[in-house]
Amino acid sequence: MNEIWQGLIEAGRLIATLDADLIEISLRSLQVTVTAVLIASAIGIPFGAWLAVKRFRHRRAAIALLNALMGLPPVAVGLFVYMLLSRSGPFGVFGLLFTPAAMIVAQVFILTPLVASLAHQSMRELWADYHDLLISLGATRRQRIAAIVRDGRRALLTAALAGFGRGIGEVGAIMIVGGNIDHATRVLTTAIALETGKGNFALALGLGFVLIGLAISVNWLVHTLSRTEGGARW
């Protein structure tokens, strides 16, 4: 119990003193995960909507596969992305390994199935609602997808935030492809792993509290900006 208090005190101290390293790694955590969420949403949301709208032979299998991919172990994804981006791998020439870009790539792999699957679930309900109307109005497939994405944006925002939550707390993959390099690829989660390894539990726990606070702040900010809670329109 004592160490938990020390962790809280440490978190308070880090924030109160605007610790430069803390701000740097927090911003990098945000930069990596927000970018990854935007890319994963740009891929996953239209794909999930498309899956909801389109009927094809192996649709069920595709959905089952997508749901299974949600559970991809981040460490395995990290290793896979490492091998892709390694100098001796197929994309080695770009020299992306151990850069924030590599961490973004790994997180896109992890987050896209999650966002796509959650998007598909909410889009499927909306599509059941809209199906007859949009067919009757003669909407093309592209227009159908656009309509359910637009009108389901609140649920999609929730899907994207779920992706953010998974990404910001993820450590296994970004440790492997980012390397936890100080001032280059260190983020909150890898810093927590590092400090735990050093036995600095109070500092590690303090960073953990900062991470939780950051995740809550982003959720609150997004909800406030989108006025989905206050207005409660849908």
């Binding site: 909306l126 007859d132 067919i135 109005l137 909407a139 227009q143 637009r150 009108d151």
Partner: protein, 239 residues
């Protein structure tokens, strides 16, 4: 309408199967270019499926629908109002404007045309409110405005007043009369024989997925030709 109408429509030996069973047909029918056709018949006769088939929402398992225009054109120039209207999760105005946006109008044109319709159906005040807070009658009026905003040749309605009170029903009927006067062909189903008598210029009596009787409304209501139609109009249960 400047263009020639998509009507008349000739339906020949049309069939709709579902779960290995004929819901409709084989069925023959003709829809002339003018008038208001009321589709009536007992529950389970296939009225909804018949209307959906006309609109192209049901796949034919046999027979043909012959319109006076190409298929793409046919879909664009008709509209459908469902028994329980689908409200898109947008504002009332955006609901009414949506069909025009699908047809490539600019946002502004679409919203102007939609606003005109909202004024006509008495929902101008509600334009910016979300559509799902409307009452049942208001929803159905909005669905009707959304259908009419594209100025269709043919308007199909599936029991649009089934769950509405008298006042809302009267408003819907007035809109339908006005639409017909403006040249829109109306085909609708109803349970309400009073409504059928008020609106119909001709009648299709459906029973067990086929048309048992068709003809001018007056003749049908005065002197139904088939025993099923007679029984139905008497208020007997028809199986």
């Amino acid at each position: 309408m400047v263009d020639a109408s998509i009507l008349p429509l000739v339906v020949s030996a049309a069939r709709v199967r579902r779960d290995g069973r004929d819901i409709i047909g084989p069925l023959d029918a003709e829809l002339a270019a003018e008038g208001t056709t009321l589709v009536i018949g007992p529950n389970g006769a296939g009225k909804t499926t018949f209307l959906r088939m006309l609109h192209g929402l049901e796949r034919l398992s046999g027979g043909t629908l012959r319109w006076q225009a190409l298929e793409r054109e046919v879909r664009r120039r008709q509209a459908f109002v469902f028994q329980s209207p689908v409200m898109m999760r947008r504002s009332v105005l955006e609901n009414a404007a949506y069909p025009l946006i699908l047809r490539g109008r600019t946002r502004r044109q679409a919203r102007e045309a939609a606003a005109g319709w909202l004024a006509r159906i008495g929902l101008a005040e509600a334009a910016e409110r979300p559509a799902h807070v409307l009452s049942g009658g208001e929803r159905q009026k909005l669905a009707l405005a959304r259908a009419l905003v594209t100025e269709p040749d043919l308007l199909i309605l599936d029991e649009p007043c089934a769950s509405l009170d008298g006042r809302a029903t009267r408003e819907i009927e007035a809109l339908l009369v006005a639409a017909r006067a403006a040249g829109t062909r109306v085909v609708m189903s109803t349970h309400d024989m009073g409504q059928a008598r008020r609106l119909a210029s001709d009648v299709l009596f459906l029973h067990r997925g086929t048309i048992r009787e068709a003809g001018p409304a007056e003749a049908f209501f005065e002197q139904p030709q088939t025993p099923e139609a007679r029984a139905f109009l008497r208020g007997d249960i028809v199986e």
